[in-house]
Every structure is written in structure tokens, then in C-alpha cells.
């Protein structure tokens, strides 16, 4: 190990972590150019090379690497939360209609098709422009961009580095939700933990918000697939001895490293454009049911990325490549990259829960910079495999139980619902409490689901 491994968590969470977390944190710590430490967040679990919940920064001047496994198959998967201007009381009589309209408006699941088809030129523009491209095309408003990391566009995207297969795979998928742990939820603010920050975020108890959890869809998955394979094959060329093939990586300064960065940034833009289009579709759905609703964007965060950032390391400011694999950036108050609205308090950190438990809004902290390169958790991992969940629950049963609690679930697949049953996931509250206690981010609000659209 070139640097120490640092795992954040309560005693219970750390004890509960699978042994592969320790092994993968250790392997990452062996990679060239790694800075300060190989981190794992409180929700860490077994991933591909990097643990999910892994954070690692590399300096190219020290032979630092970029790793496709350190970003994952769903490039820039993330969460976006929108205000609605409505309260739980406003929404309750309209819940069923909203559930219907939302599931009708946002294609979700295998076999669903996006309604927006881009030609070659537009794909190029989308991969280059991200959410900025989407807004210019009429999906959303300029003000949305202030509330997205990097104002909705990853600089340095190289659309030509994205293979024809990846583009082809995206053709029917613009403005779609995906499946698995992706979701579109209507949520109620059930508790506020920090009044001042909640005020800055515009959140009050009983407010209704909309949260969208999805990523770069087929394009991102194809980029991940191709570069994991290619980087694994190329590793011997760079004298990088991979302790684990999945830790496929390449020097930042290499041709394949640069090509991956160009493609990955295009993937980030695809995810940001996708969440921007879905926002537009959600606004249209609301307009047909509750015309007075005003869906302003609170924030959009990504949790599978590699970003170039400046951090203080050994008394000097260094530009490093920060990988966050299932980890969310957590910028604290005063940071220059924050939108004006959050500069005094820090950025919202949006943590997804399950359709039966809760999600959380946290705020970034200054101390997270030295603790974890300004990173925090992203959501609880699974407590059991999909097969086991399928043996334990029936989709219909899960839907009915949630309905009895006032939560409407819309999904095209009963089996999918069973696999995503709330009990199949770990306790996100414990993860969030640990992140708060460690100083990675602080609790601001708790959100409970009202409507959940799954794919």
C-alpha cells in the first residue's frame, strides 16, 4: 500500500461490511499516484475493483491513474431533487393521479422507449453540452443549471471517444429512468434536523419534493463495459500490476487514459442531459394534474464520477483526479464551486433510501475536504441478493403493504418490485448518521416516499 486505507462508519456498520471492502480499499491503495488515502464511505460494499462507496484521488505528475472500475458501469448515476411548492395535504387527494401521470410520462424499465430520438449531430451536441444542451433544446430553464454540479456540463468531454455501439445503445433511451435501484419518487419532508440550512435549501416539514435517481443509461453502461475490458488488456503495457483485474486502470497521461476521460465526461453529460429531460417530463406531468405546482430544482448530485479537483495535500495545492464510486461530493460552506444560494451553508447532498423507508438531504462540510476529498456516502447497499429477495417477497405483497402505508408504487414488473423490496436493503439511516458523526456531511432533512415509480 502506498497510502493508508481509511474506512468511515459506526462500529456496527464497519463490522457488517463484507471482507471484500477491506481487500478492495487495500488494492486501490496500491495504485500509482494515489494521494493521501484510499477511502471507503459508511455505506461501502463489494464493488468492481473499487469498493462501492470508494473514494481515491490520483496525481498524474506522480504517474497517477484513472480507473474505469473507479467510476463504474453507470457513469454519473446520481440524484436530483425538485421542489414542488406543494404540501403533503395538497398532494394527498391527487396522489393516485400523480402516480398515474408520472409513470405514464417517464419511460421506465426494460422494453420502455424514450420519446426523444437524436440524430448523429444532436448526440454529439448532447455529449458535449450535457444539461446545458438540454436546456438550450427546451428541456428546462436556465435557472436549473445553477443547481447542478459544474452547471450541468462536464468540461473536456470528447464525443468522438464514445464508440458507435455506445451511441447506438442510447438511441431509444434519452429521457428514460432505467430499472433496478433507479426511481422517480414523490416525497414528503418528514423531519428537519438543521433549521438554518433547511431554510437555505428551501425545505420545510410537510413540503413535497420530487427525486429522480438514474444515470447515463445504455451509453454509460457501454462505455464502462468497453473501457473496463480495454484497460484490463492495456495494464501490462504500463507496468501496472493489477492486484485484481477489475481494478482496470491506465495512467492519466496515457492515450487510453485520456480517451477514457473524454468518453467518461461525455457519459457524465449524457446522465445530466437525461435527468434534465426527465425533469421536463415530470414538470409536464405535474402541469396536467396540479397546474399551480412550481417545480424548481433544489440540486443535482452525481455519485459515480472521476473529476479533476484542487485539494490541499501535504501542505500544497494539487490538481488531482478524484474517483467517487458510489460516493457523493460534499462541498462545505465557502467553496468557490457552490452556487450563490448555497455558498454560506454548503451543498445539498442527496442520499437515496428505499421505497419503504426514507431518503435524506444532507449538507456538505468544510472538514470533509481533509477527511475524504470532500466526499460522503450515497445510499445504503443491499442487505440480501436479488434471488434471496425474490424468495422472501412477492411483488404484489410489497406493493399492497406499501399502499397500506400510503405509498403508491408503480412498476411494470412484479418480480422487479420484489427484488427492490425495502427489506432487501440495509438501513440508510445508520449510514447517514455515521456520515454525520464522521463530519463527512450533516443531516438536514428526512424525506419519506409518497409515490414511487420504478422500472
Amino acid at each position: 500500500m502506498r497510502v493508508p486505507g481509511v474506512i468511515y462508519g459506526s462500529e456496527a456498520l464497519v463490522r457488517d461490511m463484507d471482507e471484500k471492502v477491506r481487500e478492495q480499499v487495500t488494492h486501490v491503495a496500491m495504485l500509482p499516484g494515489i494521494q493521501r488515502a484510499s477511502y471507503a464511505m459508511p455505506d461501502a460494499h463489494w464493488g468492481y475493483g473499487f469498493p462501492i462507496g470508494g473514494v481515491a484521488a490520483f496525481d498524474p505528475r506522480e504517474g497517477g491513474v484513472v480507473s474505469a472500475g473507479g467510476v463504474g458501469f453507470d457513469i454519473s448515476c446520481g440524484v436530483r431533487t425538485l421542489h414542488t411548492g406543494l404540501t403533503a395535504a395538497d398532494v394527498e387527494p391527487l396522489k393516485a393521479r400523480l402516480a398515474q401521470e408520472l409513470s405514464r410520462s417517464v419511460p421506465a424499465g426494460v422494453g420502455s422507449h424514450g420519446r426523444i430520438h437524436l440524430d448523429e449531430r444532436e448526440i454529439h451536441a448532447m455529449l458535449e453540452g450535457g444539461a446545458q444542451w438540454a436546456v438550450a433544446r427546451g428541456y428546462g430553464v436556465e435557472a436549473d443549471l445553477d443547481r447542478i454540479e459544474e452547471r450541468g456540463r462536464a468540461a473536456g468531454a470528447v464525443p468522438s471517444a464514445v464508440s458507435p455501439r455506445a451511441r447506438h445503445r442510447q438511441q431509444d433511451e434519452m429521457g428514460t429512468l432505467g430499472s433496478g435501484n433507479h426511481y422517480l419518487e414523490l416525497q414528503r419532508v418528514s423531519e428537519i434536523y438543521d433549521d438554518a440550512v433547511a431554510r437555505a435549501f428551501g425545505l420545510s416539514v410537510d413540503d413535497v419534493v420530487v427525486s429522480i435517481h438514474c444515470g447515463s443509461r445504455g451509453l454509460g453502461h457501454q462505455i464502462g463495459t468497453e473501457f473496463l475490458r480495454d484497460m484490463a488488456a492495456a495494464a501490462p503495457r504500463f507496468g501496472v500490476v493489477l492486484p485484481d483485474r477489475e481494478l482496470a486502470c491506465a495512467p492519466v497521461e496515457s492515450e487510453i487514459g485520456q480517451r477514457y476521460l473524454g468518453a467518461m465526461r461525455a457519459g457524465i453529460n449524457c446522465a445530466l442531459a437525461n435527468r434534465q429531460i426527465i425533469t421536463h417530463l415530470v414538470r409536464k406531468a405535474f402541469a396536467t394534474v396540479v397546474p399551480r405546482a412550481a417545480l424548481a430544482l433544489l440540486y443535482d448530485v452525481s455519485h459515480n464520477t472521476c473529476k479533476v479537483e484542487t485539494h490541499g495535500i501535504d501542505g500544497a495545492l494539487k490538481e488531482v483526479f478524484v474517483h467517487r464510486k458510489g460516493a457523493t461530493r460534499s462541498l462545505g460552506p465557502g467553496h468557490a464551486d457552490l452556487p450563490a444560494a448555497f455558498r454560506d451553508v454548503g451543498q445539498p447532498v442527496l442520499i437515496g433510501g428505499t421505497m419503504g423507508t426514507a431518503s435524506y438531504v444532507l449538507v456538505g462540510t468544510r472538514e470533509s475536504e481533509r477527511l475524504s476529498f470532500s466526499s460522503s456516502c450515497h445510499g445504503a447497499g443491499r442487505a440480501m441478493s436479488r434471488s434471496q429477495a425474490l424468495r422472501t417477497w412477492q411483488g404484489r405483497q410489497v406493493v399492497d403493504e406499501l399502499a397500506a402505508r400510503g405509498i403508491i408504487v408503480r412498476s411494470p414488473s412484479s418480480r422487479g418490485v420484489a427484488e427492490e423490496a425495502p427489506g432487501a436493503y440495509k438501513d440508510v439511516s445508520a449510514v447517514v448518521d455515521a456520515a454525520d458523526a464522521a463530519g463527512l456531511s450533516r443531516k438536514v432533512a428526512r424525506l419519506v416516499p409518497l409515490v414511487c415509480v420504478k422500472g
Partner: protein, 137 residues
């Protein structure tokens, strides 16, 4: 004796194909892949897609095979329910049979994003060939 299996891997799922020959094990692994989404038995043979892929080693060939199927199913919006597979000298030639995804009939549980290096192995054992890896969902 030829069969497919799933095994759990945290957030994702492992696919295993077992057969008397390498090609049969690869065929079974493809059925296991489909089974992540839907029961292969419920997929009709309405269209056929020819597949050719190559790789330097058996395990990389399994990855290529599964990732090609994932790609073809995604871009054609079909699901494959049966296959004929032939492998010779690092080249796999196959026919993948299936039909357009019917959400109501197939109720696809989840989309497969890609096949991974995790638990990737193609091995001949006394009781036959075994081909496996974890797929990201």
C-alpha cells in the same frame, strides 16, 4: 446435466452455465443472463440474430459473448430465449433466438448493464465445463 444457475453478489447477480462442452456451458450462461430479466421459457423464437465474437482467452470470450448479447438485446429491444453456440479456436459463432420485449408478458425484472470480471471463470472440471461471471444490474 447441462443447466444454468444464478448466484448472489451483493447488488448484482452471478450467472453460471454448465455443460458437457464449452459451447454448451456458454449457451447455458446466456440462458442464465436472460433469466436475470425474464424466464427464458417464456420467450418465443420469432427472430434470430447471428453473433460472432473473438477473444484471446476463454474467460475473455465469455465476457465478449455476454456483453454482445446485452448490447444486441438493448439496441433491438428484444429478449433472447434460446441459442445455438459453436466455439472453435477462440472464435464463437452463435444464433440467438428471441422476440421483441413484451413488458406485460415478460415482466422484465431489471436491465443488465454489463458483464464484469468479478468471479469470471471458464473451467473444465471432471463433471463438465463451467462458465460464470457477475453481471451488473
Amino acid at each position: 446435466m447441462a443447466h444454468w444457475e444464478h448466484f448472489g453478489h451483493d447488488a448484482d447477480i452471478g450467472v453460471v452455465g454448465v455443460g458437457a462442452t464449452k459451447a454448451e456451458a456458454f449457451r447455458q450462461a446466456a440462458l442464465a443472463l436472460t433469466a436475470v430479466m425474464t424466464d427464458p421459457a417464456g420467450v418465443r423464437r420469432l427472430e434470430t440474430v447471428p453473433i460472432v465474437c473473438r477473444a484471446a482467452t476463454d474467460d475473455l470470450l465469455l465476457l465478449e459473448w455476454l456483453n454482445t448479447l446485452i448490447y444486441e438485446m438493448a439496441v433491438r429491444s428484444v429478449v433472447f430465449g434460446d441459442f445455438e453456440v459453436d466455439i472453435a479456436e477462440g472464435e464463437l459463432r452463435a444464433a440467438a433466438h428471441g422476440e421483441p420485449v413484451d413488458v406485460e408478458r415478460h415482466e422484465p425484472a431489471v436491465e443488465v448493464k454489463g458483464a464484469t470480471f468479478t468471479a469470471l471463470e471458464v473451467r473444465q472440471r471432471p463433471d463438465g465445463w463451467r462458465a460464470q461471471c457477475v453481471v451488473d444490474v
